[in-house]
Each structure stands twice: as structure tokens, then as C-alpha cells.
């Protein structure tokens, strides 16, 4: 029989225009190609996560994909109880012989868009807007800042967070307002890593005719001409790969780090932002990418360093 799959989204939900959505796209792609379906659930609290994991494990699902660091503890607990079920955890680490943890080197992708931002900024002021002040988001911000500073150390870097509750991911008005405030201070390129609030940011950026940078999935299509690029984080690919490995019997447990080299993160260049990416920018961003791949550039991971060098 075909293996059974399930995806558990975190509180952001399947349509968060961010990593949950990306995960769902990966699973959908797998479904389209293999005609093997999957179950999907969204959880609201950490307690629920455990409940769902257990439920699915009892239903003899072969691979459960848990999206988001919030599910780490629950995955670890349930994985112990159901050694026959396999789990893939995105953005977090859980121990267990039947768990694969996939972490992304957001700092590397963010570095690349930082390089692009530094080159594209005319005012020499670039901004970052994060959803909530958590290590994951700081890692985006820190990688971005490193890219900016490495390109031009005189560039000013401004950063704001939307809020401190989960509402911070769903407050486009505030996301937009933060962008406007930054632009009034002269910022002309803004990287938004703020879920739904980021949509407000990009909208405001477009209204002022400045440049925005999308996150997680390729968001260039949102405002063609006003999107400098997007920092893509290939959660979809990770999910797709895990599903495929189960199907082909090549699945392995363990912690995987996916950076630029592994194709886990990247910058996006397509028809929607072709017009704003000059040949020079393209060349220098790709050069930086190459340097990261061959180790010439080491982008510091904020989560390990606990401090941002830039």
C-alpha cells in the first residue's frame, strides 16, 4: 500500500504566506506527482500538538511533518512513544531515532538579500521588519544586516518588530505603519519577515514606490516592480524530499542543516523583479552566494552566537 502522510501546521496556519504555506505547497507537489494524498491539521496550542501527533501516530501514519519550532517538544515526546512512526520537524530540533529535524540557515539567504538591498538602496538606508522578537526572526535580521554591512559598511540599518503577542503576525496595519515610519526616515529597501503583517509592509513599500523584500516563499509576484527580491526558504523542498524518501525507502533520521549550498535558502530572481535587479546586483549577489557555498564567507548564526556581529 501507499505510505500515509500528514502535515501539522503551527498556529500561523496553512495560508500564512510563509513557511506553513510553503510546507503545504511541497506536500501538494508530492501529491500531484505521486497521487499519494496526505492529511493536514492546524494546531492552536502546544498541548494540542501532542494530542494530534499521538492521534496520527495511532492511525499508523508513516511520516508526520511538524512545521514550526513550537512543535519540537511535542514531537520529541510522541516520537519516543511511537518508535515505528517517523517524524520530520521543520525549524526545530527534536531527538529520536525516528525523527529528522530540518533547520534552515536563514542567515545565509538573508545575507544574500542584504547584499542586494545594500546595492539597490539609493538613500543608503535599509530596513528590516520582523513579526515578533524571537531568535528565528533575529536570525533573519542578523544575516540580512551582515550582508548589508559587508557590502557597504556605511549603510544605516533600521529594525522594528511588530509586536510581542501572536497578533504580531496578523497585524498588517502595524506592519505598514512601521514601513512608512522607516521610509520617512529615509529607508528605501525593507525586508519583511513578519507573516501576515509583512504583507502590510510590502503594500506600504509599494505605495511609496520603494523596494521590498519578501520572505519564505517567493513573494515577488505580490508587487512586481516594487519587490527587490525574496529570501526563499525551501520548506516545500524539504517536505517534498522527506515524502519522496519515505516512498523510496531512503529516509534517514538526524539533524539536517539546509543552507545556500544545500539549496535550502536562496534569493529569488524571476520576471517580477527582473526590472529592478541590475546586472551588477545580480553579479555581486551571485558572487556572494558562491563565496558562501565554497566557505569564503561564513555568515554568523545568531541563534548560536547569541549576538549579531553586524
Amino acid at each position: 500500500a501507499d505510505p500515509k502522510f500528514a502535515v501539522i501546521y503551527d498556529a500561523g496556519g496553512k495560508f500564512d504566506k510563509s513557511f506553513n504555506q510553503s510546507a503545504s505547497e511541497g506536500a501538494e507537489r508530492f501529491k500531484k506527482e505521486t497521487k499519494i494524498g496526505f492529511m493536514e491539521v492546524q494546531v492552536a496550542s502546544d498541548t494540542q500538538t501532542e494530542q494530534v501527533l499521538r492521534n496520527l501516530a495511532r492511525k499508523k501514519v508513516d511520516l508526520i511533518a511538524a512545521i514550526g519550532f513550537g512543535q519540537a517538544q511535542a514531537v520529541q515526546n510522541v516520537a519516543k512513544e511511537f518508535p515505528a512512526t517517523r517524524f520530520v520537524l521543520i525549524d526545530g530540533v527534536a531527538n529520536g531515532a525516528n525523527v529528522s529535524s530540518v533547520l534552515f540557515k536563514e542567515q545565509e539567504g538573508s545575507y544574500l538579500v542584504g547584499v542586494a538591498a545594500a546595492l539597490a538602496s539609493k538613500s543608503k538606508k535599509v530596513g528590516f521588519i520582523g513579526g515578533m522578537d524571537i531568535p528565528l526572526i533575529r536570525n533573519f535580521s542578523c544575516g540580512y544586516a551582515q550582508g548589508v554591512k559587508a557590502t557597504d559598511s556605511k549603510i544605516e540599518f533600521v529594525q522594528n518588530m511588530v509586536g510581542t503577542t501572536t497578533a504580531a503576525w496578523n497585524d498588517p496595519a502595524k506592519g505598514g505603519e512601521l514601513a512608512r515610519a522607516q521610509m520617512e526616515r529615509g529607508v528605501d529597501v525593507i525586508f519583511a519577515a513578519a507573516g501576515g503583517s509583512g504583507l502590510g509592509t510590502l503594500q506600504a513599500v509599494k505605495e511609496k514606490g520603494k523596494l521590498g523584500i519578501g520572505v519564505d516563499s517567493n513573494q515577488n509576484y505580490l508587487h512586481p516592480g516594487n519587490m527587490l527580491t525574496s529570501m526563499v526558504k525551501r520548506v516545500d523542498q524539504a517536505i517534498y524530499d522527506s515524502f519522496m524518501q519515505i516512498k523510496n525507502g531512503t529516509w534517514k533520521a538526524g539533524v539536517v542543516y539546509k543552507g545556500v549550498k544545500e539549496g535550502g535558502v536562496d534569493w529569488a530572481l524571476d520576471k517580477d523583479n527582473r526590472s529592478v535587479i541590475s546586472a551588477d546586483i545580480e553579479k555581486r549577489v551571485n558572487a556572494a552566494k558562491q563565496d558562501i557555498i565554497n566557505g569564503k564567507i561564513n555568515v554568523v548564526d545568531f541563534r548560536e552566537a547569541k549576538k549579531c556581529p553586524a
Partner: protein, 360 residues
């Protein structure tokens, strides 16, 4: 003719049931519009929330938290105070317990550790409510406003504390480390194995005890008498020698302490770590529960279970019926509060008419 003329069973059983049915009827309509079979859906919901023992376990697990937040709001209401801040007080209560556990979970034995952590939760929750209470009593700042503000402030503060200080090295999830097992609250499934693998733990028993204590304290003690007098007529309470400012401050301390206790269930009974935004609205649901349950212990218990069941059953239902998003049950919660809490007399005229006809 008004409600007072109806027999007791009609006002306390028939009317609430009719209201609940009305709310569910509207909900059924929405489910139908979403393209699912309402009867079947309700069946799934009831089955997974009440009939299935494991589901029941989850229902009661959620209810335990709500009982505490419901009590927190209720006790303040008895004194005429509208404490909207239970959410923030619960959040801080979680911090209180966590700090105790992080400091002591490797040194103290469980039987000492758990009470110490619970004390920490009560203390932090209480102190977080003390400030608004004090400001109301001494400076006349509206407790409604200050507690709303304190909710926002607690969110910022907790974010700062967790993200900047509590995340263990090498971890990135915004949560404290997992506590040692000695700090985990004993689960009820060790006594009642039929409950299956549910996080239902002794804090549910604690919640029931709290309900009884609350009932006795408010209706049977001189303290409760003074509390209610102050709530109903502060001028008369002053005349009766009851210190209003003391009552306000003490009540807020207790209210906050109860909200702090609400944190014990999820933090020490389920996740075993302090996570960002773990109250997840339980403090606000406490307001609904206090209002719907008329601040009465039985009412609080029943509405807490009802809300627990909605969360558990609704979640399972949305698992089975992808057309029904979990948010549908947020809508249904609202409807139930509206019908049972604010339109309690909707059917009074109809029932009165029925009785009149029978009289003649």
C-alpha cells in the same frame, strides 16, 4: 409577567437549555452553509468531546484551566471589579512557577517542588493584579483600563524575559528548558487508565477544590459577605465598616492568584516548559465563563466544561471535516455566550405564555 413568576426548573434548566439549543441551531446553519452535514458534525463533536474517554480527558484538561480563570474573574466581579487582566496574570503566574522550577527542580523532591512552584504561580499572578488593585483603591484609576494595559505590558515583559533570558543555550524555540520530571504534575490517567494518554492531571482536582472553597468563601463567610456588600453597594459597605480599599486590593490579589493558578495546568501539567503566549486566550475565556456561569460555582464548572468540550470536539471535528475550519468553533463559542449569557430571558415570554394557558 416576568421571569420571577416561572417555576424554578424553567428558569434554571429549561431556559438555559433552550438558549444553548438556539445557539447550536444557528451553528448548525453555518455548518450547513459550509457544505457539511450538521447532524453528523454535531455527532462527531459530541463523541470526541464527551463520549470518547480520551476526548473527555482533554475536555476536562482544558476545563481545569478555564475554571481557574473563570474563578479569577468571578471573585473580582463579586466585589464589583471587572478584572480583564486574568490573561496577563496567568502569563505572569506561569513565570512565577517556572522561576521556582528552574531554580529548584534538580534539588527539591516533587512533593516539595510542586507546592513551591504553585506558590510561585499564585504569588506572581497575585502581584501582577495587585498593582491595578492598588491603583484603583488609592488613586481611582479604573481597574478595567489598567488591567487591559497590564495585559499588553505582560505580553511585552514575558516576551523579553523568555526570549532574552529563558531560552536555553543551543535552543531556538522561545521557551524555557523542560523541567525535571519531579516537577510534572501527576496525571489522572494513572488512577483512571481509561482516560488514555491525556494531559488531564491533578490540577483538575485542584480546580474542583477551588470551586468549593470559592462557593463557601463567598456565600458562607463573613469575608464573602463583606465582599459582596462592597460590590453591590460600596456606600453601604462603608457604612457597615467594611474597608473598601482593602477589599479591592485583597480581592485583586486573590483574583490574580487564581489566574496564576490557571497557569499551573498547562505549564506543569502538559508542556512542562514555559512557552511564549501559552495562556492562548484562556484569561479572556475566563471572562466569558464568569459571566455565563453567573459567578456561581456550578455555573462556572458547567461553562468551563462546555468551553473545554467545544475546543476539544471542535478541533477533532475540523480534523475530520476539512470544510469546517477550527475558527468555526470560535464563532460558536461566541454564539453560546451571546445566547446563554446575554439573552437568558429570550424564551421567558414564550414559557410564561405556556404556563398562563395551562393555568386557565
Amino acid at each position: 409577567m416576568n421571569q420571577a413568576d416561572l417555576p424554578r426548573w424553567a428558569t434554571s434548566v429549561a431556559m438555559p437549555l433552550l438558549n444553548l439549543l438556539s445557539a447550536l441551531l444557528v451553528a448548525a446553519g453555518v455548518i450547513y452553509l459550509l457544505g457539511e452535514n450538521p447532524a453528523e458534525s454535531m455527532g462527531i463533536l459530541i463523541n470526541s468531546a464527551v463520549l470518547n474517554p480520551e476526548g473527555l480527558g482533554y475536555t476536562l484538561f482544558y476545563a481545569a484551566t478555564f475554571i481557574f480563570t473563570g474563578l479569577s474573574v468571578s471573585v473580582a466581579m463579586q466585589a464589583g471589579l471587572f478584572n480583564i487582566g486574568s490573561e496577563g496574570q496567568m502569563y505572569l503566574g506561569g513565570l512565577g512557577a517556572t522561576l521556582v522550577l528552574l531554580a529548584l527542580d534538580h534539588t527539591l523532591p516533587g512533593w516539595l517542588l510542586i507546592p513551591a512552584a504553585i506558590t510561585g504561580a499564585v504569588l506572581f499572578g497575585g502581584l501582577w493584579a495587585f498593582v491595578p488593585g492598588y491603583l484603583q483603591a488609592k488613586r481611582g484609576s479604573h481597574v478595567v483600563v489598567t488591567t487591559i494595559m497590564f495585559n499588553f505590558i505582560s505580553a511585552s515583559l514575558m516576551n523579553y524575559v523568555i526570549v532574552s533570558h529563558l531560552i536555553p543555550d543551543g535552543e531556538q524555540s522561545p521557551a524555557s528548558r523542560v523541567f525535571a520530571e519531579s516537577a510534572w504534575l501527576p496525571k489522572l490517567n494513572s488512577i483512571l487508565p481509561v482516560l488514555g494518554e491525556t494531559p488531564l492531571n491533578i490540577s483538575f482536582v485542584l480546580a474542583l477544590v477551588a470551586l468549593v472553597i470559592y462557593g463557601v468563601a463567598v456565600w458562607r463567610t463573613s469575608w464573602g459577605y463583606q465582599l459582596r456588600a462592597a460590590g453591590l453597594n460600596p456606600h453601604a459597605a462603608h457604612y457597615a465598616g467594611i474597608s473598601i480599599s482593602k477589599t479591592i486590593i485583597v480581592t485583586m490579589l486573590i483574583s490574580g492568584g487564581l489566574a496564576g493558578l490557571a497557569a499551573v495546568n498547562p505549564v506543569m501539567g502538559s508542556t512542562h516548559y514555559l512557552g511564549l503566549n501559552f495562556p492562548a486566550g484562556a484569561g479572556f475565556i475566563g471572562i466569558a465563563i464568569a459571566l455565563m456561569g453567573r459567578q456561581h460555582p456550578v455555573g462556572i464548572l458547567l461553562s468551563s466544561i462546555l468551553f473545554g468540550a467545544l475546543i476539544q470536539g471542535g478541533f477533532d471535528l475540523s480534523l475530520e471535516k476539512p470544510n469546517i475550519p477550527p475558527e468555526t468553533f470560535i464563532f460558536i463559542q461566541g454564539l453560546i455566550i451571546l445566547f446563554c449569557g446575554a439573552m437568558e430571558n429570550l424564551y421567558a415570554p414564550v414559557l410564561s405564555a405556556m404556563f398562563k394557558r395551562k393555568d386557565k
